[in-house]
């Protein structure tokens, strides 16, 4: 093994963790939900783990639930509850929004079946 060999082998091996971090990092199997307040992302959660959390907007607290690979608004401090009526989101590209409270959910994933959703 020459010095050049060592350099090549070591840098090749060193490249691998970097690749895993780049393409596997924070992309748990399946999709994620991005939570935005005023169009700015405040948190991202994997849809693989069932959980419930709350996000504060200008009007108050919106409640969000992740269950069985889907996500939805369960409550929001708005009058018409359109966001809650939107129901479960599952596919990459689907989104729901509580406009009065400026909170929105977008499903995103490496494996988006759709680029966007029409409704």
């Amino acid at each position: 093994m020459t010095r050049a060999d060592w350099v090549i082998v070591i840098s090749a091996v060193a490249l691998l963790p970097f690749l895993y971090a780049l393409y596997w990092g924070n992309a748990a199997p399946g999709d994620r939900v991005l939570v935005l307040v005023n169009g700015k992302q405040v948190l991202a959660a994997s849809l693989a783990t069932d959980t419930e959390f709350t996000v504060d907007g200008p009007l108050g607290t919106s409640h969000i639930k992740v269950h069985g690979g889907q996500v939805r608004f369960t409550d929001s401090p708005c009058a018409n509850k359109l966001c809650v009526h939107t129901g479960w989101l599952q596919h990459g590209g689907e989104f729901a929004a509580c406009l009065p409270n400026r909170v929105s959910l977008v499903v995103s994933g490496l494996n988006n079946r759709y680029d966007t959703i029409n409704f």
């Binding site: 093994m1 020459t2 050049a4 090549i8 090749a12 691998l16 490496l110 494996n111």
Partner: protein, 182 residues
Amino acid sequence: MQLTLQTTREDHRIAWLAALAITIHIAESALPSPIPGIKPGLANIVTIIVLMQFGWTTAVWVALLRVVVGSLLVGTFLTPTFMLSLGGAVASLAVLGIASRLPGRGVGPVGYCVLAAMTHIAAQFWIAYWLFIPHDALFHLLPVLMTAAVIAGLVTGVIARAVLDRLSDTDYGRHPAAAAAD
């Protein structure tokens, strides 16, 4: 009318080595593969040995003949498999060409094989993405493919080194011009 082709010793050598590489290529394509597209790349061993024994130009001939004739024999000529194969070969030959011009003691068989395997996979990945499966999920595979490439490169490199050691013991086929070639 009879056509006579003047062949040189160099031509004969290329033909013999290409035949060897093609044999390995075909044998390998008959082997079952756990993941489509992942092959150990044993034919690369021949390319690397030729590169180190006879220089880059001969290696280019051997590798390209291997891809074209091999695909004709297996029946994949001009199919996606062939394009992947050719793309991988061209890219790795380019990188080998640059690496073989490195100053100093230069690169050994293991370094060449690792470089060749990684370039091969990287080029094939991009061809596959752009021409055949333009789906982002493909990128999920890239780390696995590159890991496989590094392992395959190391394994073929060790084999190539063992073969080269034997060759230097017998001093077989060492071309006097090889040292002068780039």
